[in-house]
Subunit: 307 residues, 2 copies
Amino acid sequence: MSVICVGTMAFDTIETPFGKAERIVGGSGTYVAYAAGNFVKPIQQISIVGYDFPQDEMNELKKRGVELDGVEIVKDKKSFFWSGKYHMDMNSRDTLVTDLNVLEDFNPKVPDSYQGAEFLMLGNLMPKLQLSVINQLKKRPKLIVMDTMNFWMDIAMDDLKEVLKKVDVLLVNDAEARQLSDELSLVKAARLIMDMGPKFLIIKKGEHGALLFHEEHVFFAPALPLEEVFDPTGAGDTFAGGFIGHLAKTKDISFGNMKTAIIVGSAMASFCVEKFGPERLKEITKEDIDARLSEFVQLVNFDIDLV
Amino acid sequence: MSVICVGTMAFDTIETPFGKAERIVGGSGTYVAYAAGNFVKPIQQISIVGYDFPQDEMNELKKRGVELDGVEIVKDKKSFFWSGKYHMDMNSRDTLVTDLNVLEDFNPKVPDSYQGAEFLMLGNLMPKLQLSVINQLKKRPKLIVMDTMNFWMDIAMDDLKEVLKKVDVLLVNDAEARQLSDELSLVKAARLIMDMGPKFLIIKKGEHGALLFHEEHVFFAPALPLEEVFDPTGAGDTFAGGFIGHLAKTKDISFGNMKTAIIVGSAMASFCVEKFGPERLKEITKEDIDARLSEFVQLVNFDIDLV
């Protein structure tokens, strides 16, 4: 069961109240691939990097079952670079630098070897490029999951709404759900957004967990209460990777299984924030993941007798 | 199984983006009694009111199994009055008026008929008065639950810390937990607060649910995602009433049963916010409560296979 993953592979410089990490590997596609690779192989990556992206990182991804045929390497340009600084509460951040570099010319091409994939993860990226990937697929995947962000709502809302018509699951945060729907109540916002196309909507609320909406159903997954959030960068992408990884592994796209997939995504995100960048995602084992999932069961499980 | 409930019985004038309610019945003790009365009888109320508190309301409470021997009626003074205005997001509010009136002279007395109660709910009130009630009890209750607020942390922190030494469960919101512990991380804050006395700590996060801490355990209860929050006044007190009501009904104060009690509290709070004041709490039936509890089960239930 292969999963195509479209997203950025980049460098980040990150400052948090706990420290600073200079030019470490990041990007939505990188986080999704590291997270999803724990559950399903191959991950068929579509991205673009410059001459400066480390071969070691490529090898590490390959070792984990990530195919890189769809990753274009531009010899005379640098990789996408983002720099940000988190505030004390870790829920908000300022972007300090955004150097598009190779991303300016990105024109994703789906390799022939990727055709027939049953799952497509559209990581956070220009909506036009997300759409281009969908249109290149000869057979529609069983499930298309789309991540996006407020930035594209500000500058490319029409394109974004075009993509929305073609996807099954949309991932946004609470502020983005409100912006996209122009509605303060998340329950009402969810209904309006599902009318735009996606049959399933996930609203991420950071440390406050995530909501899954489908028709009249709603499911809530908490975030694990952590002593310290060391670096939230990539947590949303990691969540998406765990989510689609679980669905692809189990080949079950029912609402019931999406509930479990969201718990898996939350568990993966809870690892991501423990260290700078995707570092922690590279360390964890299947045993670590299972232990974390057990913590989630303990966290929300209760007994009740209803007559 | 009787429950002593100490708290205010008052009038509120409430303004929300949805409308305004003038001088409706409110007060922490009123909400706790209406909520807990669904699960256990008698509720033994301790409070103070003025000449203006409606006899109809007293009768309504009595009809629901609330004993009023401990409610002092002051013939020549008005009842406590609070007025507030909620902001658009309903998470924050401005206090417009606080007329203490009878509350200035409140010196709660535990009637002889209340002695021997196994549960004590200390609703939000001056810490000195909460302590006075504890000290008047000849036999320590099986469980003492304490609610409080940032206002008392600002002006009576030393008194508050004295009460903390004597209670089993403390209820605060996230901002109050941070203020009380001087610690930003809620997980660390919880540990520090439990060192002050309470063996159990509930941190309420409004629309983001509630956390229960005990030793190294943590449990999370979501708030029900609602289309509209009409009036949040009293939601915290109602939560407390449902919580202690369930514990008293089941006579089980284990961590496992407290998880369920928090879900019950969350369900009761989700009714409270649907109308102004305690109105909605007076309408609901056992069937309504069971149906709401089923919604909570649906909201958080998921299947997972762990090896």
